[in-house]
């Protein structure tokens, strides 16, 4: 049974008014007034276009925005109590907003939405990012149809990205998830996704909601739960991914949320990933990947410098995490001039696996382990940028595929580290 305590009395009152629905679209917000109106209009357009006969609602879980985010969502309601203009709709469309308790967190927002979807018996629920200003109404159909019409349980997206965007996904999350769990999920940490009533109902009881990974990166936890729980997965191409400007310092937070959560999940799902040997493609709609080759300004030199200074400064920490040979190779890389710098696939995978094993062994605090990986990741990004400067779309994909295969080939190495508890030099 769902834990209902997260839902306020006021939200319950609103949910009573909404009643049972076929489809719920969740929109977590926190000061997103710049983009959320555009997003909610696209969501509404998609619902009216593709699900005009079905009982649908939009739920905004807000973290206490100081701007007008909740009001902008509510304004998209269609009801008989207000003049909605010349829209031709069969039904009332409730767009409701709730301020969840506590400080802003993705986990609280998502748990509120998943709980509401459960209470409303929503057959399909989609989560949409309030920052996705590239969204079109078609996304709603693409996300929801596999769940609502075809009985899939969890739909992850594929986006059209610039070749040098999302490198944490292409160089770490996608290949490692694929190698460990055997599914080609391009976006394991999605900003848009959808899930079935069955999945939402069973996931509500998960422990992760009460732990840091569930609070900080619930989307990734849900993906892991979908994989680990044997649910029917689906992958859908949406379109261009919205570009959200991030400061360099955000990388630490981002890695804590992605790397930290994935490492954390290995212990939770060890029975699931250890025995996986085959790699499966997901049933899907649209392109499996799409990249654009527009130029992006990246300060490669600084990446190289940060790698070198990081390895030097963190050597004592790294020595407790990495195998001696791995650390030696990294230190050697610090000695070469930048145009000869090459952080190979194999070295990167070994680095990651040794970090994962150390995280499991808790040689130092989990946060410190993840932070220690940050400069190394910058080095890897440097290599990725250099390798793909002149690459075409398909060549970039080949490079990513090659990295994935390296992750898969070296998986026995992780299993060995995991089993023997070996690690730092």
């Amino acid at each position: 049974m769902a834990d209902e305590s997260i839902l306020s009395d006021e939200l319950i009152r609103q949910l009573i008014a909404v009643g049972e629905v076929d489809i719920l679209v969740g929109l977590p917000t926190y000061n997103n007034a710049k983009t959320v109106a555009q997003v909610v209009q696209a969501v509404r357009g998609g619902l009216l276009k593709y699900f005009p006969r079905d009982r649908v609602a939009i739920l905004n879980a807000d973290g206490g925005s100081k701007d007008d985010s909740p009001m902008l969502v509510q304004a998209a309601s269609i009801s008989d109590a207000r003049n909605s203009g010349p829209l031709q709709t069969l039904r009332t469309l409730h767009c409701i907003s709730t301020r969840y308790a506590g400080s802003p967190s993705a986990g609280s927002a998502l748990r509120t939405i998943v709980s509401a979807a459960d209470l409303l018996q929503a057959k399909a629920c989609a989560i949409v990012s309030p920052e996705s200003d590239t969204i079109s109404p078609d996304w709603i159909d693409t996300l929801l149809r596999p769940i609502y019409r075809e009985n899939f349980d969890f739909v992850t997206p594929v986006y059209r990205r610039n070749r040098f965007e999302g490198m944490l996904v292409t160089n770490f999350l996608y290949p490692m998830t694929r190698a460990l769990y055997g599914w080609r999920i391009r976006e394991p940490y999605p900003t848009e996704f959808s899930f079935s009533y069955r999945f939402g109902n069973q996931t509500l009881n998960s422990d992760f909601w009460h732990q840091d990974p569930g609070q900080n990166s619930p989307e990734l936890c849900l993906t892991m739960a979908a994989i680990g729980g044997g649910y029917r997965l689906y992958q859908a191409f949406l379109g261009p991914k919205a570009r959200v400007e991030q400061a360099a310092a955000d990388l630490v937070v981002a890695m804590r949320h992605t790397v930290g959560t994935l490492f954390w999940s290995l212990a939770q799902n060890s029975t699931s990933w250890k025995d996986t040997t085959e790699i499966h493609a997901l049933p899907s709609t649209g392109a499996e990947y799409e990249v654009t080759t527009d130029s992006v300004r990246v300060n490669r030199k600084r990446l190289h410098q940060m790698f070198c200074s990081g390895v030097a400064e963190l050597e004592p920490v790294l020595s407790s995490i990495l195998a001696q040979q791995t650390l030696l190779e990294l230190k050697r890389l610090c000695t070469v001039v930048d145009d000869q710098f090459h952080y190979s696939d194999e070295l990167w995978v070994r680095t990651v696996y040794e970090f994962a094993a150390s995280y499991h062994r808790a040689v130092i605090s989990p946060d410190h382990i993840v932070q220690a990986l940050v400069p190394l990741f910058r080095g890897r990004v440097y290599t990725f940028l250099m390798d793909n400067r002149e690459s075409s779309e398909s060549e970039i994909e080949q490079h990513i595929e090659s990295l994935c295969q390296t992750f898969e080939r070296l998986k026995p190495y992780l299993l060995e580290l995991w089993a023997t508890g070996q690690g730092g030099s």
Binding site: A17, P52, T92
Partner: protein, 546 residues
């Protein structure tokens, strides 16, 4: 005649629509007649209705169930004689039941002597009583109403070697209302029946009386001119009589039929009816409240006529494409149920014989603003037969009991004007008046009670309406008010139990009295008024400040 004449009696009326042919056969020829109808007036009186709407009973070749009139001054011999009609009329009036006669003004049968003369020659005095043309290209673009049977609004007449205009079937030529002689003759027809004592007319197909090039030939100012002329004569010579318009139009286009209170007294609210069905299926009040929001106010003394089903198909002309597709898919998945732009089914089968939904729909019919019309047989939940062709499936004999021919006729079954409903769910052995009269819990008994409660309070017929818009969109709640009298209606459109909070702050201090059981409900206080409703349940509360 009713003892207390009231100029706006029709606002309080509960109308029962009946076809003489279908109600009771007194002479065993298999066809209902006026003597039979007279014999059944006690039943109608007990039901509680106070007005009868008779579908066309005039001499006719019956190629359109009497809507193809061949003589406006007589009674079809199958239904009896003019004297039989007079006797029926008197008997009805003795029971305080008014009688409204349906007249088809727009067209006649092609067998009508007027048309036979008109087609004879170009110089016949009645030539100009119909709309003739040398070509079939005039009034191009005017929509065809019976799209399933007609390809054009023009038909070739081989006798006079020219085309005649018909908005309905090709055997129903349109009268030419630009001709003063036609208008005069139509008034003579109305006067004939009014002098006999009928209480009003339901005028069929009124938007189409006059044609003009370059228009839709519907709702034209000249048509309103004709109708105003008839109304003026009616008021002058027969005050207290009523005109009811059949104009299947959007609310804004219907308003002109009330004129400034100088055209029709009443008009059917066609767009509301399909939206009531839609609202219950969608479990959402939006279609109902939306169409009523779009309905402009009508002049004092005028009234909407509301209905759930009638002798025609459930028309879907006054809905959007999206709504029409939805209605077809939800109420007529079997394509044989579809006819023209509508669904040819009775109330009970449309609602899957769900007693709760039938009650809810009748509750809405009786409580929304307007005068309700009950189609014969729907008060006992009669079924239909889509295999009978055209709209005949909803015009089968009234089911009085489980005996021979449902006690409708002593004729051999094969001689009945129509087959009876025989299936195990709606057949006359199961669904009939006699069996339902024996049970206080039958639909018939419940309908009697509903009508009784409706008639107990004039607020339903004459009061204003104000929607409450509670957050729960599955609940349709509104206040009806007339002077100091206030009634609250709360309807659960959904198949599941619902909780609803109503903002009754303006009624603070009032006690709610449930009108069917007369039980008291808590006084309205400062907080929103919380009610729970079972599936498809509705409440009518009288609000009293004591």
């Amino acid at each position: 005649m009713p003892s207390k004449p009231d100029a706006v009696w029709y606002r309080d009326a509960v109308i029962y629509q009946v076809h003489v042919r279908a109600f009771q056969d007194s002479n065993g020829d298999g066809i209902g007649d006026f003597i039979g109808l007279t014999q059944r007036l006690d039943y109608l009186e007990q039901l509680g209705i106070d007005t009868l709407w008779l579908m066309p009973f005039f001499p006719s070749p019956l190629r359109d169930d009497g809507y193809d009139i061949a003589d406006y001054y007589s009674v079809h011999p199958s239904y009896g004689t003019l004297d039989d009609f007079k006797a029926f009329l008197n008997a009805a009036h003795q029971r305080n039941i008014r009688v409204v006669v349906e007249l088809v003004l727009n067209h006649t049968s092609d067998q009508h002597p007027w048309f036979q003369e008109s087609r004879k020659s170009l110089d016949n005095p009645r030539r100009d009583w119909y709309v003739w043309s040398d070509t079939d290209t005039r009034y191009r673009g005017v929509r065809i109403i019976f799209v399933d049977t007609e390809l054009s609004n023009w038909a070739w007449d081989p006798v006079s070697k020219s085309y005649y205009w018909h908005r309905f079937f090709s055997h129903q030529p349109d009268l030419n209302f630009d001709n003063p002689a036609v208008r005069e003759e139509i008034w003579n027809v109305m006067k004939f029946w009014l002098e006999m004592g009928v209480d009003g007319f339901r005028l069929d197909a009124v938007p189409y009386l006059v044609e003009r090039e370059g228009t839709s030939c519907e709702n034209l100012p000249a048509t309103h001119g004709v109708l105003k002329e008839l109304r003026a004569k009616l008021d002058q010579q027969f005050p207290g009589k009523m005109l009811l318009a059949e104009a299947n139009q959007w609310p804004a286009d219907l308003i002109p039929y009330f004129g400034n209170g100088d055209e029709f007294h009443m008009a059917f609210h066609f767009p509301l009816m399909p939206r009531m069905f839609m609202g219950v299926r969608l479990e959402d009040r939006k279609p109902i409240t939306e169409i009523l929001q779009q309905t402009p106010p009508i002049p004092d003394g005028c009234q909407w006529c509301l209905f759930l089903r009638n002798h025609d198909e459930l028309t879907l002309e006054m809905v959007t494409d999206l709504e029409r597709d939805y209605m077809y898919d939800e109420y007529a998945r079997d394509r044989s149920m579809r006819l023209n732009v509508g669904i040819r089914r009775r109330l009970a089968p449309l609602l899957e014989n769900d007693r709760r939904r039938i009650e809810l729909m009748n509750g809405l019919l009786m409580s929304l603003p307007g005068t309700p019309i009950i189609y014969y047989g729907d008060e006992i939940g009669m079924g239909d037969n889509v295999h009978l062709g055209d709209r005949n499936g909803v015009r089968t004999p009234m089911q009085w009991d489980g005996s021979w021919n449902a006690d409708f006729s002593a004729a051999d079954p094969e001689n009945l004007y129509s087959a009876l409903i025989l299936n195990p769910v709606y057949g006359y052995q199961v669904v009939n008046v006699a069996s339902q009269q024996r049970s206080p819990h039958s639909l018939l008994s419940w309908m009697r009670r509903l009508i009784q409660v409706r008639k107990s309070n004039p607020v339903f017929g004459r009061g204003s309406i104000e929607f409450l818009y509670p957050g729960n969109h599955r609940v349709l709640a509104f206040l009806r008010q007339l002077g100091n009298e206030t009634v609250l209606a709360v309807n659960n459109l959904s198949s599941a139990a619902q909780a609803v909070e109503l903002d009754l702050s303006r009624c603070k201090g009032h006690i709610l009295i449930e009108m069917f059981g007369r039980n008291l409900f808590p006084r309205v206080g400062d907080l929103p008024y919380l009610l729970t409703l079972g599936p498809y349940q509705f409440y009518w509360f009288r609000l009293r400040k004591l």
